[in-house]
Symmetry: C2
DNA sequence: TGATCGCAAACTGCATGCACTTTTATCATG
DNA sequence: CATGATAAAAGTGCATGCAGTTTGCGATCA
């Protein structure tokens, strides 16, 4: 049968897909900074492949909006300039609002139960005060909201937008007090959803993201 | 397809970009039907290029969500199955609603004026009764709404979603009466925006898309 | 000194080739 | 006659090569 080459058959498919993920990760985590050139030869060397798969990966990253490409010019990590950053946070807030609103009426009993349980459990993380741990939980919380809307496309848009904003939201939980504030805001969202109060849920989620936006912008401006 | 040799520099970018556009167009206009296989060699022959740029084009179309790709398998025109179709229309409605709501408070005088003028002018298209012409105007109308929100990211999400839905919305204006109905609904949106009534604009746009959704679903189901 | 031109190195765009995988056609077997 | 094995054909994944474009740098000249 097929011998699993060196790249074992983890859920990653082709070489290109692995590279897309790897590069996207570097951009999103800030290892690669906006404006940085991504020349094909270096990347090929770095990943120990030829230029062909690198080119395909860059093409895909371009379509994803993470890198900019112009003919006969190196791909560059896209600068999310301030205006667009604000736009993205605003869009994110709207999307979260929609997801929460729909979740309020569409989540089934299991989903509601899980949401509540997890939220309660997260209180420990707040008191523990480890930003990384809470950030991980936070991501899961929001994903739960996106899934709760029972709308695959919305899930896709929200996930995609969130991924692009990740680098700018990275340090938010280090701000003093933000951790417990976040917990409180989550609480409002959870309560509204459990009550099936769509409007309240939507508003709570919208506000939640807006606040994050304010908190993060400082950071983003400081860094870029 | 006979003018591949010399690329007229100005108009289109690279070969790949041209191909992406061409293929996307074929999918969107229904020339290529969902499920159809897009094998690299045939496309290469068709466009008189080698497989390399074809592969890159398919990669990009995959990222755009128009074609599905799995390792070692031909790319296929994506079937937007019914469940997801409904999800996408719903998401589209939400996005349009947001754009209209934001447009109501953010459009500047020029934009408002242009919106109104164009809408008025479109009445002629209704009486003329040529679905293709009205469809073209309709696209422009909606783009105007997206831009009016003054939010690049939202614009991107809306454009992207709309592109994916295009094949399923294609025949809507052939339905008897849909043309003038559409005009009326546009009118409601325009009026609300000119009045800067954000809530009304949002609702009108949401409803407008929802109705299109109903009208198109019949078509989609019948065809797929 | 500084600006400009020209050339070579670096890099991208695309073609071609080969290895491996999937699909299809053929044929043997119950 | 259906079924399963199997080999050829078709197709994808990636490497390599070459031509054209961009870029960096040094020589030339005002």
């Amino acid at each position: 049968m097929t011998q699993a080459k060196r790249k074992t058959v983890t859920r990653t498919g082709t070489t290109v897909e692995q590279m897309v993920r790897a590069i996207a990760d570097m951009i999103v985590t800030g290892i690669m900074v906006p404006g940085e050139r991504l020349d094909e030869l270096s990347l090929a060397a770095r990943f120990e492949v030829s230029r062909t798969p690198v080119r395909e990966a860059l093409r895909e990253l371009g379509a994803m909006g993470l890198v900019g490409r112009e003919p006969n010019r190196s791909a560059i990590v896209k600068t999310v300039e301030e205006a667009h950053l604000h736009a993205m946070f605003e869009a994110m807030a709207e999307l979260e609002g929609i997801c929460a609103r729909l979740s309020a009426t569409r989540m089934d009993a299991d989903e509601r139960h899980a949401l509540e349980q997890e939220h309660r459990a997260s209180m420990q993380l707040v008191t523990a005060g480890v930003p990384e741990d809470y950030a991980a939980y936070n991501t899961e919380f929001h994903n739960r909201l996106y899934r709760g809307a029972h709308n695959d496309h919305l899930l896709e848009l929200a996930t995609q937008t969130r991924a692009r904003l990740a680098p700018f939201r990275h340090a938010q939980f280090r701000l003093s007090g933000r951790l417990s504030k976040s917990y409180e805001e989550h609480g409002r969202i959870v309560t509204a959803i459990l009550r099936a109060d769509a409007t309240a849920a939507g508003k709570a989620a919208y506000d939640h993201v807006s606040i994050v936006s304010d908190a993060s912008t400082v950071f983003a401006v400081a860094r870029v």
